[in-house]
Amino acid sequence: MSASGHQRNRFLVQAGLSGLAVLILAWTLFPVYYMVLLSLTPTNDLFRPGLYIDNPTLKSYIYTMGQDNPFVRYFWRQLGTSLIVAIWTMATVMVIASLGSFAMARIHFRFRRFVSGLTLFTYIIPASFLSIPFFKMMADYDLLDTKLALVLAMVTFASPYALWVLSDYARTLPPEIEEAGAIDGAGALTTFFYLYLPLILPPLIAIGTYAFLYAWNEYLYALLLLTGEHNIPIPVAMGNFLTTDNAPWNLLMAVSTVYAIPPVILYYCFKRYLVSGLVSGAVVGT
């Protein structure tokens, strides 16, 4: 094949790729663009569809931030609920998964297979299958309408994956850790705190982010376990919009946008960790 043929080939590939890229971008970004567009639309233009708007306004955001509409009366409180649940989930998952991963990856104890099987089982069983018994259980413990119930649910369903990613990473660490600890005469706890934890920090950040986002995004369990305007997190409040008379959609989209921003920031900040963590978790099976 001649050199110019090669170049033409490369050009064709590039051109084809660009065409595809435009298509992919349109498919990916259009719904997001439309959400932002709607949030900037004045109420009077809401029902005149178009690909752009003539008079964008920040009113919806101002109403939302100022809680100046019955639909967003508890906006900050609901956002706070989302945040508290997400932070607690993150912290608890980090603790449980780092302890667990130490056991799984660094201690070759009997019944390890049993623990790992249980973890995998929890990871795979769809969370919604357990939702109704879980709800009934929380009602029996009198924990309904408390954030604790939601945190417990989130921790339960975010831990297996976190553990998977962490222990997978921990297995790649050199065996010298325990040996160094043993020379110092350190117990398992000391080894864990002083030698093991600092080494697994990068994937720990990844799974912390993962747990945070898992809780932040959750809808079903939040819907089941929490009720009442002042108790619910943002996504449930947004769902409630839909069942009321005359929902102001531009306001709803403003809330949507605000709600979507933190995860997007987190994803892009920790993308490197997240992707490698996720991938090692998923590719490990092969």
């Binding site: 998964a97 201690i107 089982f121």
Partner: protein, 290 residues
């Protein structure tokens, strides 16, 4: 050290020392929070749910309900079509994102957005776009002289919308997984293939695909099990409408339990899917090592 060595009768100090050095003990201590969590919040509700779901009357009621029968079909469609189309597209896209140009990296960063934003805002945006009177899709259709379509008010298009949303939201995630799978393939294999004069298609057929096949299968199984239990997308996008014809198992169970006060029917609805799920889990446990 033999397991349970600490049970052997010795002096107190000896026992303590042995206990502290026993690996089984350590293993359990470190995984104790985990085990407690799974015991309390997975095993217990599971057993509890199964106990409730054992009532035979519930199944008689379920299978006598035309909505339930329709729901089973919807779930099969949803899981079957959405997951397979999505993963096939993801496999192809991962090939595109694997090209080493710089702008491809920008593209792949933007491509991640649907994965990064929570499902709910996306669903709301879709819902508005699909409105038959003031949605953008119908607006564009009529602009080009085509008849408008009541997207969410017909069974086939509503179910289609649910599937399309699912693909939109979760395609990026699986694409990344496949991308990583591709990158894990040793480069020498392609070089060897190039010496044999392999074209891109042959590269894919004889090098990429055989090596990705296992990953692809596992991803299919995983994604199927996850999608089987999906609640958020069908519920918020269509809510069962029109005519309760677009329910899937999770939304129907919610409707039974909280709209109709039939806890036992809700649990039975999930129990119907349990054998399938357990079979998938069994397959996965055999393939995946942790």
């Amino acid at each position: 050290m033999p397991p349970f060595a600490f049970l052997v009768r010795t002096t107190r100090e000896e026992r303590m020392v042995r206990l502290l050095h026993n690996r089984t003990f350590h293993g359990f201590m470190f995984s104790a929070p985990l085990l407690a969590l799974f015991g309390a919040f997975v095993i217990y509700p599971m057993a509890f749910g199964i106990y409730y779901a054992l009532d035979r009357d519930s199944y008689r009621a379920l299978f006598g309900d035309p909505t339930f029968r329709q729901t089973v079909w919807n779930t099969i469609w949803y899981v079957g079509v959405a997951v397979n189309v999505k993963l096939f597209l993801a496999l192809l896209l991962s090939g595109i994102l694997d090209y080493p140009y710089r702008w491809i990296r920008v593209l792949s960063a933007l491509f991640l957005i649907p994965w990064a934003i929570p499902a709910l805002p996306g669903i709301l945006s879709f819902r508005w776009m699909l409105n038959s009177q003031w949605g953008i899709f119908n607006h564009l259709l009529t602009k080009f002289g085509l008849p408008s379509v009541p997207w969410l008010a017909r069974h086939d298009t509503a179910l289609g919308a649910i599937i399309v949303f699912h693909i939109w939201k979760y395609l990026p995630f699986w694409t990344i997984i496949f991308l990583a799978g591709r990158r894990a393939i040793p480069h020498e294999l392609y070089e060897a293939a190039a010496i044999d004069g392999a074209q891109p298609v042959q590269n894919f057929r004889f090098v990429t695909f055989p090596l990705l096949r296992n990953l692809y299968l596992i991803c299919t199984l995983l994604s199927m099990v996850f999608t089987l239990g999906d609640f958020t997308v069908p519920w918020l996008l269509a809510g069962g409408a029109p005519g309760d014809s677009t329910h899937v198992l999770a939304t129907l169970a919610y409707r039974y339990t909280f709209h109709m006060g039939r806890l036992e029917w809700g649990m039975a609805t999930f129990a119907v899917a349990l054998p399938v799920t357990l079979f998938f889990i069994f397959l996965l446990l055999r393939w995946v090592k942790i």
